[in-house]
């Protein structure tokens, strides 16, 4: 599946929550990514991590305004992108 060129979406998303991707949003992101079979990677400043790993996400130390490059690869990549995008657009449903 990984080598199949049919699949792969790349998308940059901006962190809009005031506090950045701290533990709670990181947990929400890892949980959401974990629901899909696709491989989901996040890249920031040359560091790439597994989006299903909360620790990987936290290690990005993504603050408010940071742009993360997501790569989705697999049969359900479109659905995965939609779910992840929804999280970012809603600011991880944070009302502060």
């Amino acid at each position: 599946m990984g080598g199949d060129l049919l699949y792969m979406i790349k998308k940059g998303l901006e962190v809009k929550n005031q506090m950045g991707l701290h533990a709670r949003p990181a947990a929400m992101l890892a949980q959401t990514a974990g629901k899909f079979n696709s491989e989901i990677k996040i890249e920031k400043d040359g560091v790439e991590v597994n989006a299903k790993s909360i620790m990987g996400i936290m290690m990005l130390a993504a603050q408010h305004g940071a742009v993360l490059i997501f790569t989705f690869e697999g049969a359900d990549e479109a659905e995965a992108l939609k779910a992840v995008e929804d999280l970012f657009v809603s600011g991880f449903s944070e009302a502060y």
Binding site: A23, A30, Q31, K52, M55, H64, G65, S90
Partner: protein, 587 residues
């Protein structure tokens, strides 16, 4: 006596002897097992995972019931860490490939991750290492079957002093007789700090060397308000803090006694009391307050530290969520009162350094110069008024002329019409209000009132502009004086002008939170106050302990006086009946 300075992580004051925290030693048998037993070792790991999952579920349930769902999310983060594929795979591979016993494998995986976290420069994310080690510790205790989180119970009410505290340790503090804690490291946002706040245990973190300099049995004062830790205080300091403790207790008592009572003076005059609300600082205490609405939502915070102004969607989400918290009570949203320095940081245009920013491009001036910001904000506010049942009201900052009022109102009406065409209409009419904080607006108010629904007095700026004093300037700060006869007269003028035209007037500035001057303001005819959440009940208590008659007499006398000292003395004479004392805000 020694004074250690740390970070105030959870409010309150506690006094008690120090107990030094000994972290539970993880009894890990480092070692290898024969390759033939790999499956058995993986099964041990699996069982430990299942037990840890069950632990966390139980803990989550317990926190949900005791502290509420917001805090249970801390445990949700722990559950996600437990299931982290990278962490799990790292442990598994150490078992499968290196044949390390499971607890060794967990410890090693933890150490590898800790190193990566240590390399982070951001303190906030660095602290998350604690959450990972808490989870690893839980796994290891479930593997070894060892005593779990063996924190010893203190003999009497004590203060826990530690280099660092894990969130799970923090949860057990109250049961173990600890009334406060002090740590060397950590910040306001660490999970331990958040849990301390929810359990209402005073805490000071980031005090760097406390755990090394403080000895077991030292008498400690933990001042969770200012972040001070006082070791072996002298009698005078001790007495001072005992008094503060009593005052805090009194405030808590007020919460229990007067929170549900009406906002009436002793002779039955109603004064509307609202709060200045900041969605970023919502606390358990604020949620408990019974208020008559949101008197001032400052929106500047949305524009801080960012390269582009916040989108309509982001603003709408925040305004709507905030308005929903106030059900059917009024919610006053103020358009952003930004300074000229934001022009550059928000990429609006070229910023020319201003010689005198307070007299420069700020408030409504910046909104009229860059109308796109104002339109976006107005759309978000109108949409929030269409989504939430609360009556939303608009306040425009820094008005100095009728032309500005008309210009903003034209944009507001256009925006209303444009949204109405898209089927978005507010549930209630959005009242249009202005801040009166520039003296010219106060004096020309009669000409503006036909255009506006209400007036809000910004006392800080009004005093500053009237007396021409910058209170950040130490040489002149003393001139900043709310009892200045000129200021009392201008408040009177604003109130009288509004009364003639039947418009309501409120005070949302700092003065509304000052119990000493509130009776004078009420006497002058200000019948709506919006205070900081912290001072809300104390102001309410003040209101309930004075008669409107006495306030009105006080105001009439004050208007005839020539000096601020006279006015102040007269006000104070009224504000200390029946043992009503002002509480120390910052000891």
């Amino acid at each position: 006596m020694e004074n250690i300075k740390g970070i105030a992580a959870s409010p309150g004051v506690a006094i008690g002897p120090a107990v030094l925290y000994k972290p539970a030693v993880l009894d890990v048998q480092h070692g290898k097992f024969p390759p033939s037993e790999t499956d058995a070792e993986l099964l041990r790991l699996k069982t430990a995972y299942e037990k840890s999952r069950a632990d966390l579920d139980a803990l989550e349930k317990q926190i949900k019931e005791t502290l509420g769902p917001d805090y249970a999310r801390v445990i949700d983060a722990h559950k996600t860490i437990l299931e982290d594929p990278n962490f799990k795979n790292s442990i598994k591979s150490k078992i499968q490939k290196e044949h390390l016993v499971a607890e060794s494998a967990v410890l090693l995986a933890l150490q590898e991750i800790s190193i990566t976290f240590d390399n982070l420069t951001d303190e906030f994310f660095k602290e998350r290492k604690n959450d990972v080690s808490d989870v690893a510790k839980r796994l290891i205790t479930n593997l070894t079957g060892g005593a779990r989180y063996a924190m010893e119970k203190a003999a009497g009410p004590s203060v826990l002093v530690a280099h660092n505290l894990l969130p799970s340790d923090t949860l057990n503090l109250k049961d173990n007789n600890f009334i406060a804690f002090v740590t060397d490291i950590g910040g306001k946002t660490s999970h331990s700090a958040i849990l301390a706040q929810s359990m209402e245990i005073p805490a000071v973190v980031g005090s760097s060397v406390s755990s090394k300099t403080i000895k077991a049995g030292d008498m400690l004062i933990v001042d969770g308000e200012s972040g001070a830790v006082i070791v072996n205080p002298d009698a005078e300091t001790l007495a001072k803090y005992r008094k503060i403790q009593r005052e805090i207790k009194r405030s808590e008592l007020l919460l229990k006694t007067i929170n549900d009572l009406p906002f009436l003076t002793t002779d039955g005059k109603h004064v509307t009391m609202m709060i200045n609300y900041d969605p970023r600082l919502d606390s358990k205490e604020t949620k408990k307050l019974k208020t008559e609405g949101l008197g001032l939502l400052r929106t500047e915070f949305l524009f801080l530290d960012r390269a582009l102004p916040p989108s309509e969607e982001e603003q709408f989400n925040i305004y709507a969520a905030t308005a929903k918290k106030f059900d059917m009570r009024p919610v006053h949203i103020r358009l952003a009162d930004l300074g000229g320095d934001k022009v550059h940081s928000l990429n609006l245009g070229e910023y020319k350094e201003e010689l005198n920013p307070f007299m420069g491009l700020r408030g409504v001036r910046i909104l009229l110069k860059y109308p796109a910001i104002m339109q976006t904000q107005l759309r978000a506010i109108i949409r929030a008024a269409a989504a939430a049942p609360a009556p939303v009201k608009l306040i425009v900052p820094m008005i100095s002329s009728l032309e500005e009022v008309r210009a903003v109102k034209a944009v507001f009406n256009d925006t209303l019409r444009a949204l109405a065409a898209q089927g978005v209409t507010p549930k209630n009419k959005i009242d249009f209000g202005i801040m009166v904080e520039v003296p010219s607006a106060a004096f020309a108010l009669d000409s503006m009132l036909p255009e506006v629904d209400f007036v809000s007095i910004g006392t800080n700026d009004l005093i500053q502009y009237m007396i021409a004093v910058d209170r950040m300037n130490q040489d002149v700060a003393v001139l900043y004086d709310p009892y200045h006869p000129g200021f009392i007269r201008i408040i009177n003028h604003i109130v009288q002008t509004c009364a003639q035209k039947g418009k309501s007037v409120s005070i949302c500035g700092e003065l509304a939170s000052d119990p000493e001057i509130v009776p004078l303001l009420i006497g002058l005819g200000v019948h709506t106050l919006s205070t900081s959440p912290r001072m809300f009940l104390r102001i309410k208590n003040k209101l309930r302990s004075v008669s409107y008659d006495a306030c009105a007499n006080l105001a009439q006398a004050a208007l005839l006086m020539d000096s601020s000292a006279e006015i102040k003395n007269l006000s104070l004479s009224l504000t200390t009946p029946e043992g009503e004392k002002t509480l120390n805000e910052n000891p």
